[in-house]
Symmetry: C3
Subunit: 359 residues, 3 copies
């Protein structure tokens, strides 16, 4: 980002802008709490939703038919004139695409855009998490299978069509069976990935790395609700019995529930976050800044196996617009991730360090 | 309700009354926050509970041995003298009965009493939900079975004694088996209802339709905890294996846990609520006003299948006396459904529109 | 505790001390809200965690390599000089041991230390719960088995290696099978305990008995998250199928999620707490004072079966540093168990009744 732009922003009345979806209610609510003007980039049919929540609604709507319109020069100029800082969230990244955000978005964006590129590419993501020495699910060759493994087939969506195996013999046996039954193709079989089946309870930890305060904050955590897997057990049938009834497990995120972890697990959870930040600073300087989430499983041995990173605000934070059981220990008052982002901007402007938290 | 009564209430110091059960702590707490006097209609043995919670306790107890006593002329006169507005909740409706509330309760009641009649009659409820074009679980004749269906037997309580079938053949086969084993009678078999087994994750959405502000509010949502089904999976056995051990699944509501939905699902959730209100205005003018709940399943395709409506405050709102992750976007401060009811009354009285929100 | 010590504490500026683990963030946060100075007894490697949460951090760290060091005379003198009152929590009791707390800890301790002894000894705990007429899971001899029972083997940890049986015949059959397969030893078989398998949904209720206000408070409740049992159902396999894959169920507590109970169940829940207090006053006068938790199952018949008591603050209260859906009805403001403890101390000192709440 140009020095001129940062310079012009440093004395301007800033506003916070985002795409009306995902965590926008929380982002606008938090911005309002910190005294920012807000701009919602919105599809016409979604406007009504935000108007239905006055305190989560933007001050100004910028209506677009397609979210990629925000890359149009005219719209970008308009946003820059308004002193807008964009807050990228999951839908933002999905609709616009990390590479276009990196290359074509001139509007100052909260955080380091490169983080989005690194989370969006499975190969880079693994490099990042490995470099941070997080414990990832192990990959296996058939002859290495010595524990319960999940065999994933390329293109099998929503968790459909995977195999559980615990030996090489069983692997070949079940693979042949699936081939014979026409459930998978020869190509599927040849490109199958064998991964340790990490058994434990899921936990999604919401961090915030503050470049301005130079500290890592653990703001909150959640468990995802996935349809239909989180209710399938109520049928009291095995996966095989369900398959006969035409019911396959699927893992479509529909919402979130709150949780806390044992206090004795928090040092490890903070350490995982810190290593993630340090690694990001090495891999794509100046590294990640702002909110991120590590998606992990806590095993019965109380080890954390990390299976994914989200390098921006995650939807699970929507549970905590009124603060969380962790953010109160950090701030002594109700602090959501949305408000935290706004606070960081305000403080960065005040201390003339805006350049460190936008890109 | 007589014009005289509304007239007399319009200048009176009002109080909020309800039966001491269900959501009474929340209703009294909210009434207190909005400055109302409160009256608790209470069985003697329950008084202690409310006294144990000073901020959820009514200012005055009206002790009865049986809740139907509130229909006695003397008690009704006393409540009317005190400027009481009754808030009906689930136990209120259950103990007094919707038709007696409609016909015999003279004390002004928050909301439209006819809503309670419509929710209380399965036939009318279906008419309402269908008219609102909500997606309900489909019903099938045996020869129509083309997907997983649940066969429900009349009188089978708590989810006991149902069958899961996915073809006509299987339907007849399992029905015969159940008859032979004496699990169901010939009458049960003849009156069985075959319904699509809606597979997804449950979500109970708490709405508030404000006649005074002319807007629909999404205040909160929950998931119900049901005993024993929500813990049965811990046994790691199939329904058949459990049946052999004498353990049947049951679905007795014992509590609630909080949740949020993906923001992108909220427009649809609001639309379902709006259609429910519009339909109520057509079917029983002036229609529903105040709190209601749609009980739904979110499928893996992120469609909502609605299986029930509660046309009054629901117990799941008890999670949010301190506000919810949605009500903060509506009110900018802690707003429970209980407090919301009190606010509506206060505003209705102030604007001389009490007649629109009581019946 | 000596009268002199109580005397000296009655006019001192008190501070609240605990071991940095378990619920320490909440305890320090609550102490701070009530204006107390705080002291954290901490292992060097844990200091960083507490420093990462400024509002949950103690004012002063007392670093130890082993928590039993707090029994050293010098450290105790230092704590007493600082007017410290110790708050015992789960890890505190685990690390120091209930008998050493009772015999060797001279620093005034919040609550009645004898409670910790009674909860810590399975024999005494059962006596206590039975005396309080709580419904416990029944024990059976083999010939008495007339319902689903769980057979627990001595030394089998984390829920591994238990049997489910529903008749004497099945008991002997499965026991022999396990012996033959070498899963259990003859000693295991001979010392096995047969217990009714209580089927229902778990609920952990957080009480606070106030000697100062002479009342029992229901502050909050939670459900524990246990790894891996709370996620195992996602595999869609029976216990037997999982065992073949080398996956055994385990019950290691990793965290907590919030819940509420139906309001109509609260009178019974309060009664269980009251009987527990009354019984404690009889068994170990003056009885339990301060926070405790009953760990129970709610059956489909809405009966509560109690399986354990914790006679001090429990980790599930960590969900509610901002108050709970119950504490707001008690206090009209955000009240955590941690803050409640501090409030009780402040009020006890003000009314010169410190001797009643410390030991």
């Amino acid at each position: 980002m140009s020095e001129d732009l940062i310079q012009s922003y440093s004395t301007k009345d800033l506003s916070i802008a985002t795409i009306c979806s995902h965590t926008a209610l929380q982002i606008f609510h938090g911005a309002r709490q910190e005294g920012f003007k807000t701009i919602g980039i919105c599809r016409p049919e979604r406007k009504e939703l935000y108007e239905a929540f006055p305190y989560g609604s933007p001050d100004e709507f910028l209506l677009v038919d397609d979210f990629s319109e925000i890359l149009q020069s005219e719209i970008q100029d308009r946003l820059i004139d308004a002193g807008a800082i964009m807050v990228p969230h999951g839908s933002f990244v999905e609709y616009v695409g990390p590479s276009r955000i990196l290359e074509d978005l001139r509007v100052p964006t909260f955080g380091n855009k490169m983080s989005l590129n690194w989370e969006g590419n499975r190969h880079q993501e693994l490099k990042w998490l490995s470099d941070a020495k997080l414990r990832l699910p192990n990959k296996f060759e058939p002859h290495e299978i010595d524990r319960l493994c999940i065999v994933k087939f390329h293109g099998a969506k929503g968790g459909r069509g995977f195999l559980l195996v615990s030996s090489e013999e069983e692997y070949h046996q079940l693979l042949e069976k699936s081939l014979k039954e026409g459930k998978i193709s020869r190509l599927d079989a040849d490109t199958a990935v064998i991964q340790e089946y990490a058994i434990g309870v899921r936990c999604y930890v919401h961090y915030f790395y503050s470049s301005i305060l130079n500290r890592l904050e653990l703001l909150s955590m959640d468990q995802r609700l996935e349809s239909n897997i989180d209710e399938l057990h109520r049928m009291g049938s095995t996966r095989q019995e369900l398959a006969k009834l035409g019911v396959d497990p699927s893992y479509v995120v529909m919402g979130n529930i709150p949780m806390v972890l044992r206090e004795s697990l928090l040092p490890e959870v903070l350490a995982l976050g810190e290593r993630t930040i340090e690694s990001s600073q090495k891999l794509f300087s100046p590294g990640l800044t702002g909110p991120f989430c590590l998606e992990m499983i806590c095993t019965p041995e109380l080890e954390f196996i990390v299976f994914e990173i989200s390098a921006r605000i995650v939807a699970g934070t929507n549970l905590f617009p009124l603060g969380s059981p962790y953010s109160c220990y950090l701030w002594g008052e109700a602090m959501s991730t949305g408000r935290r982002i706004a606070w960081e901007m305000k403080e960065a402007q005040r201390t003339e360090r805006l350049g460190e938290i936008i890109s």
